[in-house]
Structures are given as C-alpha cells and as structure tokens.
C-alpha cells in the first residue's frame, strides 16, 4: 500500500487532544510541562473554542469531522432512542449522516490517514487508512483497509485503556495511558511513511481518561499522582513536538499554516453529579411504574418529560413518542416551565444549570427535529447525568472530572475565524488541502 511518484500537493496535519481545556493547556505550557507546545504556540494562534451540545466526544468529534452540528450529522449522543420507543440504542459511525473531511477529500482523489478518531466505529472504507477510536471494541472492525490489522496487532496497538478497571486502579490507568500512547505513535510513524497522504489526523484520547479519573492530581501538587499525571502530559508534549517536526521536515513553506491542534471539549473538576431524571421525578414531570426503575421503558403514562444522557431533555409529546401525552399546544409552555425550574436549581447555594438551550438555537439542518427539545448547559463542575437508576438528585461516583463546552481550544497557523466553534474547522482544512472554498 505505497503510492509513489505523485506531484507534491498541499497537505494538512491535525492533532487532537481529547477533552483538554484551554486553561489547562496554558498552565501546562507556562509551568514548563509542555515545552514543545510552548515553542509551537507563537507560530500560530491559540483560541478558545466552543463545541456543539451536548459536549461529549461522540457529538463533538462528529461535528469536527463533518463541519456540521447534530442537526445535520445526526449524532446527538452516545445513546439515542430506538424509533417510536423509549428503548436505548447506541449510534455507530453508520448513523453519521454527513460526509467527513476524509470522505470529501476522497471524492477528490485525496488520501487521508486518520488514527484513533472517536465516533468512527465500525470503520468503513476511506481513501487512505482509518483506525477508529472510542467506542471501538474489536480492532478487526476498527481498521480500514483490513490489511493494517496484522501490523497493528504486532505493535500491540490498543484502542483505549481498560476503562472499567482503570476507573478504580490508577496504577493500571497510568501504565495503559503510556502503552497506548506509545503504540499510537508507532502506528503514526508507520502510516506516515506507508501512505502517500494529503490529510493526517491523530487523536490522543488518554488526556480525557486522565481528567475523568484523576483530575485533582493535575492541579494539586501534593496529590500522590501529581508527578505521574504531569509526566503523561510531558509525553503528550513530546509526541506533539515529534509529529510537528516530522510534518515540518516534509513541508515546503510555513508548516504551521497547515497544522492544527484542537480539543473536542474542555474539562474541569467535578463538584457533584446531578441526576436530571431524578429532578424530573421530584418535580412530577416524570413517573415510573417501578420504585427502582432500570430504564425509560418503565415510564408511566402521563409522564411529561424525560432526559437522555448527559443533559438532553425531551418533551413526551403526542405523535413523537409511543406514550406521548403532551399536545403540540402545550409544548412551549412546558419547555418554559422546565427551563425556569432547572435554571433555579441550586447545590449548596450554587447555581447548577447555567442555561437551558432550545433545540432551535443549538441545531440547524434537516435532522434537528430528531434531537432533544432542550439542552442543559451546566455551570462549571456540575456533571449532568440522566441515569434513571439513581434516585438522588446529587451524588458522587469515582469520577473526578467532567466536561465543559465553551473552553476547548484550537491552535493553528491557518486562518481560523475569531471565536470559533468546532464546526468551523473542517472548511479551513478542506480549503487548505483542495484550494477550494468548501460549499
């Protein structure tokens, strides 16, 4: 799979750092943890970036790769409802309804290498090579073309850390963060040479795992894992530097103009988890047949609203849902009632929900109506959840970090617009590679 002898065309390289907020990035540069990044930043422009709602990887990365919001790409969360049902399903890459950067480049005969891209499982044919990231399960189904598989297996390429065990076992977490990063870099080195690519993308997802399980160790210098988590960021910094050097070495002109770093959402320390369906039950918007419900399928007739992870509110509307009881005339009033109640919600004197966003504000495109009616934007540190199993409104688990939507980052020497959203990046990349202004 080596394509030689082509005339040199513009190339573009993207490095994604999953879940890294701009504030943390700046601190790690300033305190010397990330010197390579520090040297790189002045060559481009670092900007705070908004992502689409809800601010979770499945949605954010889909928005990045398509340059569209969920109203167009159709991925509204890690979970969604089966048609005409309250049963949960797990959308896959096949549910993505808009072309990706690499699909569009492929249509123009341009090749891409995409490594560890979340929300692309099971992998499908692209012009070039794709290794799916989270929630990929089997490596066999996570690679395109299939002949990559044996070489990746020989590198001991691992899609992700063992999140089930790593949640409790932080030694294992730190060990696997390292081994996955090393194998990823090996895969990058190999594919960099093996494919004559026009677009190269690598996503590091270990950063997000670290934030979920060990956020306090990043900030607290007396934390027993502080040095270890900083070391991980040092390794990420080294990887950024090596990828950039490799790119710059093969590039004629100003490499930073065709190089981009980004995160798909931000993160912060968890104050508390907030169970939105528990609130809906307390306020009598939602009722269950069972005292200890396991799923939304046990919802009682007469329930007016329910939530899906992480903070997507649905009005149980007639003609939309099987037991829908809210008429079209009542929808706007109910949405106002829900928004007022949730915006007034407090935890230990602190406001929990910063803003309740209407679907029409959050989404554009033909699929917007398939999305939730309302989206909740939490105040910093409030981890909004929708599990129906948790009867309490506020609770804590082993998770220490949670996502933020408006402090992701983007760095590039390319002309990215002021105050960007994650959907603004794909046109910049496509324009740089093809020389065309994407429609």
């Amino acid at each position: 799979m080596r394509w030689l002898g082509r005339k040199r065309k513009p190339r573009f390289c993207v490095l994604g750092l999953d879940g890294v907020p701009i504030g943390l990035l700046r601190r790690l540069v300033e305190d010397g943890t990330m010197p390579r990044l520090g040297a790189l930043l002045p060559q481009g422009r670092l900007q705070q970036m908004r992502t689409t709602l809800p601010e979770i990887s499945a949605v954010s990365w889909s928005s990045f790769m398509t340059g569209a919001d969920p109203g167009t790409h159709g991925i509204f969360g890690f979970v969604d409802l089966k048609p005409n049902s309250y049963a949960i399903r797990f959308p896959s890459y096949a549910d993505l309804q808009a072309p990706t950067i690499w699909d569009r480049l492929g249509q123009r005969g341009r090749r891409s290498v995409v490594v560890n891209q979340p929300a692309t499982y099971p992998a499908r044919r692209i012009e070039g090579a794709l290794i799916s990231g989270f929630v990929a399960i089997e490596l066999r189904k996570a690679v395109w073309p299939p002949q990559l598989l044996s070489r990746l297996q020989s590198m001991r390429y691992q899609i992700d850390v063992d999140t089930m065990r790593a949640r409790e076992d932080h030694d294992l977490l730190l060990h696997e963060l390292q081994t996955t990063l090393q194998a990823r870099e090996q895969a990058v080195e190999w594919l960099w040479q093996e494919v004559d690519w026009d677009y190269f993308e690598l996503v590091v997802t270990g950063t997000d795992r670290l934030h979920h399980y060990l956020w306090p160790a990043l900030e607290d210098t007396s934390h027993p894992r502080h040095r270890a988590v900083r070391d991980y960021y040092r390794q990420v910094d080294g990887l950024v530097g090596r990828v950039y050097d490799r790119f710059a070495g093969s590039y004629e002109g100003a490499p930073a103009e065709c190089f981009m770093l980004l995160s798909d959402h931000g993160a912060t320390e968890t104050v508390t988890e907030v169970y939105v369906n528990a609130w809906l039950r307390q306020q009598d918007f939602l009722r269950f047949e069972a005292d200890e419900p396991e799923s939304l399928e046990q919802m009682s007739a007469g329930s007016r609203a329910f939530a899906l992870e992480p903070a997507r509110l649905y009005v149980n509307q007639r003609r939309r849902f099987p037991q829908g009881c809210v008429s079209e005339d009542e929808v706007e009033g109910l949405k106002r009632e829900l928004a007022e109640g949730l915006e007034a919600l407090e935890f230990e004197g602190r406001k929990v929900v910063a803003r309740v966003v209407d679907r029409s504000e959050a989404y554009s495109g033909p699929l917007a109506k398939q999305g939730p009616d309302l989206l909740l934007v939490p105040e910093r540190g409030f981890d909004l959840k929708a599990s129906v199993r948790q009867p309490r409104l506020f609770a804590r688990t082993a998770l220490t970090g949670t996502h933020t939507w408006d402090d992701a980052f983007c760095w590039s020497g390319a002309a990215v617009k002021q105050d960007p959203c994650i959907t603004d990046l794909a046109p910049v990349i496509l324009g740089a590679v093809t020389g065309e202004v994407p429609g």
């Binding site: 949960i88 096949a94 499908r124 002949q147 979920h212 992870e309 998770l399």
Partner: protein, 201 residues
Amino acid sequence: MPKAFTLWFTGLSGSGKTTLARRAEETLLERGMKVEVLDGDLVRTNLSKGLGYSKEDRDTNIRRVGFVCHLLTRNDVVAIAACISPYREVRDENRRLLGRFVEVYCKCPLEALKARDAKGLYAKAERGEIPNFTGVSDPYEEPLNPEVIVETDQETEDESAGKIIRTLELMGLIPAWEEEQEYSEEEEAKIKERLRSLGYI
C-alpha cells in the same frame, strides 16, 4: 482463515487477464490475504526465458507456472496466474496438482480482440509477422468447466471483477466482506460497560 488457492486466468491475448488479475490482487490484499501474481508476459522474461511458442514449450511454461503456484499456495500465499494457457490438458494437469484451483475464462470473441488490438499484435499476426499466435495461427482450447466465465467484451471491468470475487466468496475461499456497520449484542454490552465506566450513561 481460509487456506490459500490458485486463481488461474486463461484466455486469448488482450482478453483482460492481467487487468482482472490485478483487480483480484487488490481486493484480496484489502481483505488481509497474502497474494502473488504470476503474469504470463513477466514469466516469459525470467522463469521461462528461452522457451518458445511450440505446444511443447507452451506446456512446459504452464507446468512451471503451476509449480510456482504450488509452492506459493502451500505457504499460504494466494497465487494468481494470468497466462494465455491455450491447452486444456495442461491446465487440467495444474488443476489436479493444485487442488484448490479456480479457473477464470476471460472470454472475448476474436473479432472483438482484433478490433480492439491495442498493441497491434493481431494485425501483425495476421500479416504473418508473429508466428504461433494463439487464436490466429495457433489453437486456443476453451475450458469446459471453468469456475468463472467473464465476457470481457460485454461486461464492464467492475462487473467482471465482482463476478470473480463473489465466486471466491461463495466457494468459501475468501472471507465475505460485509461492512459491518451495526453492533453485535456482545459489542453492545461492552460499549455499555465502557460508557458506564466513563460516566457517559
């Protein structure tokens, strides 16, 4: 994994053997198989250098190609041969030797080949400038029971290539490639666990 096999393309010069052999090679590589192509023209410049075009020399050439296919397939490499191989008897001899043998007959009427004649070989042969030219001054014995017949004057390249690959799939020689876009139940359970461990559900 299925064991290796030999994919044997036979047919007149210009009937599409090399093109389809390369298409098959590409598909099998994509499916993670090891593949080697033995193209008639290339074989005659090395493995069978010095051999002529008498029946005896042609049979020797085809036996040699069959022998190399045997070496390859017993080492789990799919062998793809693209040779005119005009004589039925020696093709069948290879079939017996190799066992897992898939014969693809690239069928194209002589008139169509003469009309196409991209290399001008048929014109030269008709003028007598190339002796022993199969189809013109030498015989071609059609296979009686090939596994695949591709009619290259009537089918597109994609149709012919698709026919060959589909036959290999149906014979269980190569894994069927369905882009598996849905999750299996087992996968769904693992995804649920993973999402739960990160607090996403």
